[in-house]
Symmetry: C2
Subunit: 242 residues, 2 copies
């Protein structure tokens, strides 16, 4: 009766009661995975690669992790631990959430693979729970249903992800690596100028690549507007329709 632990990895004890002392631990494994992903991207994080980055055999990892997705969960939670909460506690919920968003953004920029890793609806690890708790703390004085607050936080995270993804791809576009971005741009302009898409053509033509806003300022502005739209007073939600 060796019922396998169908639980989440966070509910499973890290060390067993009996048996030899393990050579590694979850932290070292997660660190190795993060290092690999940071330098060579998510696809480079294979079980074998992580294993012999640790100097272990290919099958040894399965003593610590039930599946590759659990390894990704460890990695995600590890970089979520890099978030700092020292700038919170301003007393203004919008400022606190903005600080939180900035922290999340910088983590995503430092670990671009995080965007792909969290893209599939991944369960939340301990550090994500800490993040959630701080966000709810920031909203404690706000008069809104808990459900509304949780939804606002979820949407904030989605917006952060979208903005950061655009930023990452924009950063890579200037470099040498990518191929499909060129193809997409060529395709877009070709389609737009081939008639039948006048507004798109105008929008693409109206792009002024130089003299952009500071990326941080733009990020702040958009996050601010989304948050005020979501959590601001009710009369903002029924605007100039008239």
């Amino acid at each position: 009766m060796t019922e396998p632990p169908a639980h989440s990895i966070w509910l499973r004890p890290e060390r067993a009661a009996r048996g030899p002392v393990p050579t590694f631990d979850r932290d070292r494994i997660a660190a190795a995975g993060v290092a690999l992903a940071d330098t060579d991207g998510l696809p480079a994080v294979t079980m074998r690669a992580v294993a012999d980055a640790l100097g272990a055999g290919p099958a040894s990892l399965y003593r610590y992790v039930a599946t590759r997705d659990e390894l990704l969960e460890l990695m995600i939670d590890r970089v979520n631990g890099e978030i700092s909460y020292t700038e919170l506690g301003s007393g203004v919920w919008l400022d606190d959430l903005l600080a939180l968003a900035r922290q999340s953004r910088s983590v995503h920029l430092a670990h671009p693979w995080l965007l792909d890793a969290t893209a599939t609806g991944t369960p939340v690890g301990p550090h994500a729970v800490t993040y959630l708790e701080h966000a709810l703390t920031a909203l404690a004085d706000l008069d809104a249903a808990p459900r509304t607050k949780l939804e606002a936080i979820a949407i904030l995270n989605a917006v952060i992800a979208a903005l950061t993804r655009a930023e990452v791809t924009r950063r890579l576009t200037g470099q040498t690596i990518p191929q499909w971005q060129r193809a997409q741009a060529e395709y877009l302009t070709r389609i737009a100028t081939a008639g039948r898409h006048p507004h798109l053509a105008a929008a693409l033509a109206g792009q002024t690549p130089g003299s952009e806003d500071s990326t941080e300022a733009l990020f702040d502005r958009i996050v601010t507007r989304v948050l005020t739209g979501l959590l601001g007073p009710d009369d903002l939600a029924t605007p100039p329709r008239s």
Copy 2:
């Protein structure tokens, strides 16, 4: 000198000038992939599965598609073609974008795998361009920079995806399929009630599972608030900070 076409699939001609008439075409392949994904999920869409759903050999697909990701692009574009634009043209940009968002939502609900397929920053196909054009048309009379409009649309799409993902997982939670949702809920409540997370505990306790709003009404309300926050008048963005 058989330089392979490094272009996007949308820039590549579907049929060759010479040679035998192909047995299949991109539409049929995309349809087969969509059918497979609809019934058994995205992982079921393997090259072999699609091939012999079509009655073809495993390697024949590569005459139509350079890689599996291109097959996914075909599938994505195909379901994007299910979007209807008949309810647009109200003259009020918010109503038009809301109608667009509703259409996008229903497509995502009809094809849940779309969430995972578009999660990785995928290039846009012809039908996505049509979608973009309609969104820009709705915003034509609005006084804002093209860049702002494009960003607002991108964020709207991200919000739609987040809301729809929550809806899909909520729908599956009631059923038999998933395992990790239970584990996650158990983990969340255990963590929250184990102290150190008072606001989370309060928020989870404050959930009233019965008497929820209509999902459509909630969707409309959130999308409306996000859009007015993003594209509404400027004085909304500097709120009760006082």
